[in-house]
């Protein structure tokens, strides 16, 4: 239950800068996610917090206490490993009690706290089971109980759900979130799954090539992506490049896109993101007040169950994807409308 400060932290492996001058301020009790593709440095950063990876530069503080010089076994972090790392030669209770014994607690206290921790992860009655008798989801719960029972300053989770099947993954992410709220514990969560990150986090840091591209709440990350990478990595989007024509108007290929946020001087190169669900396919009704309209040809339709994805080709060849609830009537010439307020200008357009 501690704020965590990461200041200018770096680490290179050979020529690769795995973590490159990262600075983050994680709040007390926050569910903070490091999101990025594999090799972006998110796991390295997590292991730096745990103490399993040395820093080339920078420092890490838990509240006011500097920890990057403290050996890993004295940092009081609780880590949940991707493959659980449940000790195969200890039973469930033995696993959960392991950290408490290391802290020299009295036998009676240990038993009580182990029981409480197993209750928290809904494993009452499993204390005497052996790891090889448990399913992947149950091993996951043991790993979480073992990490939280020591009352760590911070709970570190390294892609904990990646080995579970899709349904269990959704179930467990809700459970981890509830547990975190109930304990009020600070969490650093590493994942490459953007849906997981959006669903669970208070704030997300999107990482690429050892650097943080953007930090923000899930809605800010999704709706106001700062860079082309964030816009395309988190959710699907129409990524367009063009030149500012005049204030509020951008020339993309041969098409003029209206964007409220386009305030750069005319002639500036820009990149913009337009989410598929911000576009609307018009049948015969007029466009909503203030919306802009584009004409094109419906090229492809993907039925996705709850929604349908449409691919529209504009007259100048630009392809746009859009998502709508209802399946369409027919192909051919279509009109697409969008709200200029939802066109996001990306910082690295030049």
């Amino acid at each position: 239950m501690t704020a965590i400060t990461i200041e200018g932290v770096s680490r290179s492996f050979g020529d690769v800068r795995a973590v490159d001058a990262v600075t983050l301020a994680i709040r007390d009790g926050e569910f903070f996610t490091l999101l990025g593709p594999s090799g972006c440095g998110k796991t390295t950063l997590l292991r730096m917090v745990a103490g399993f990876c040395e820093l080339d530069g920078g420092r890490i503080l838990f509240a006011e206490r500097r920890v990057d010089t403290v050996p890993p076994h004295r940092r009081n972090t609780g880590m949940v490993f991707q493959n659980y790392a449940v000790f195969p030669h200890l039973d469930v209770a033995g696993n959960v009690a392991y950290g408490l014994k290391a802290r020299g607690l009295a036998q009676r206290d240990i038993a009580a706290r182990v029981a409480r921790a197993l209750g928290l992860v809904q494993l009452d009655g499993y204390a005497r089971r052996w790891p090889h008798q448990l399913s992947g989801g149950q091993l996951q719960r043991v790993a979480i109980a073992r990490a939280v029972v020591i009352e760590p300053d911070v709970l570190l989770l390294d892609e904990p759900l990646s080995n579970l099947d899709a349904k269990l993954r959704v179930e467990m992410r809700g459970e981890i979130r509830r547990l975190q709220r109930a304990l009020g514990i600070t969490v650093i969560y590493v994942t490459h799954d953007q849906e997981e990150a959006l669903a669970m986090s208070d704030r997300i840091a999107v990482m690429r090539a050892g650097r943080v591209e953007q930090v923000g709440a899930p809605r800010a990350i999704y709706e106001q992506p700062a860079t082309t990478f964030v816009a395309s990595f988190v959710g699907a989007t129409n990524l367009l490049r063009g030149v500012v024509k005049s204030v509020g108007e951008i020339l993309v290929g041969g098409t003029v896109v209206t964007a409220r946020a386009a305030t750069q001087p005319a002639g500036s190169k820009v990149a913009l993101s337009l989410r598929p669900e911000a576009l609307r396919l018009l049948a015969s009704e007029p466009a909503p007040e203030g919306w802009a309209v584009l004409n094109g040809t419906l090229e492809e339709v993907e039925y996705l169950g709850a929604v349908t994805r449409f691919w529209v080709r504009l007259a100048d060849g630009t392809a746009l994807q859009l998502i709508a609830l209802a399946p369409p009537a027919a192909g051919g010439a279509v009109t697409v409308a969008y709200d200029p307020a939802r066109v996001v200008m990306l910082g690295d357009g030049a």
Partner: protein
Amino acid sequence: MAVAAAFLGLFFLYPVLKVLGASILDPTGGSFTLRNYASVLSSPFFLQGLVNSLGVATAATLFTILIGVPFAFCVARLPIAGKPVLLALAALPLVLPSFVSAYALVLMFGRAGVVTGALRAAGIPFESIYGMKGIVTVYALTLYPYVVLPTVAAFQSIDASVEEAAQNLGAPRARMLRTVTLPLVLPSILAGGLLVFIEALENFGVPFVLAEDQPILAVEAFKLFVGETADNPASAGVLGVLLIACTVAALVAQRALLARRRYATGARRSAPLLAVSPMLRRLGTAYCWAVVGAALVPFAAVVAISFLAFKGPVLTYDLSLDNFSQLFGRSYRPLANTLLLATLAAAGATLIGVPIGYVIVRHRSRLSAALDLIATAPFAVAGTVLGIGLVLAYSNGPLILTGTALIMIIAYMVRKLPFSVRASSAILHQIDVNLEEASINLGVAPMQTFLRITVPLMLGGIVGGSVLTFVTVASELSSTVVLYSGPWTTMTVAMFQALEGTSAGVAAAAATVLILFTILPVALVYRLLQRYELSML
């Protein structure tokens, strides 16, 4: 770590350098000369020895591959009966002393052999088993597991989808086996074959029993060194260096092969057994049992013969314990020595080998890579050569060890170190490093974590590895014959002496005792070994 490095430096590198030194220095030891090489290499006798050694090793490699690959294929891919037993029995010759098998061949097919006599009585002309053909036969029968075990593992590690892809692309089964399956196991076959080559090259006991007047390098080095007329460390050194050069070349080739072996591992789903006709299945079953039987019959024969009475050198068919009372009538000392020396050497090799294995696996660096190489290197040095080196190094000077039990234990530890290092590193590869990190993360310091997590998880493998070291030390002959002194006579030496004399019965009894002390410990820990026997290769 420093202890392990110092140990290897003092008792492996230094003695080997001494052998090298003896080979390139003139008799006064003062100046460099190549005359020793010139004289050895210009001698038709030693040249014949080199040709014989390489020829025998090559033939043994070919035969073990010819026997082992079909065997491995049957066990891994055909629905044949009794597979676990078959594999256990197939691995057995690896721990049994091969010179006992050689001796059994002499008892059966030698000049006065049981079978030879029977054949002659039936009017079938039969020359004796001595010479190259006998040596190659024994190697084929005792070394084929080196090919079988890795090849079985390779067959089983081929993912089913790879074969399915071949069939899906239109390859019939025979074509699939030839173009996909076989190429995938080929590196393992070659790796096993090279192990056979090295073993055959440096083996002392088998050619000693069977070669008669044909020169074999490992034997001639020993004879030159402890020669009754005039010992000749310079020529012995040359032979030793030649042996080392051959094995190093083979080992380098093996490493190069293994380094590129990336594709035969990690099957999610092993390829299924092939559906074959009952005829073919019976044929496969018969073949496998025939191979295992042929390999083990010599050992069984020795045991049986040890319980029969000898009249002088002539075998009778009367049951008797005379051989054993003769063996132990002289003294129980050899048995006690063997048990004591093997126990101490196994403990020592484990104590040094496990930490080396740990460092190699968990702390990858240039230093640990060097340690890995040096710890594997004793494998390339024949026991006789190491023995000679130790004598050269520690007969005088500040540290005199020649004639002590300690020098024998040291030799055994050096010889078995590659196995204990490999065994422990193989287990460590199976222990997820995250387990250790989880323990540290929960507040247990690294050293305690090693004791509380790593050691308990390694324990099965450590015990299994120690037992294997124990049994192979108990039947170790090549360095023993160079290093032993009277009070420290071992069972192998007792058998060796009985062979040199004419006490065939005593030799058989000694062999039986050796077999007993090999099989019993291995059987006791077999469950542990099953998981790791492959890693011992």
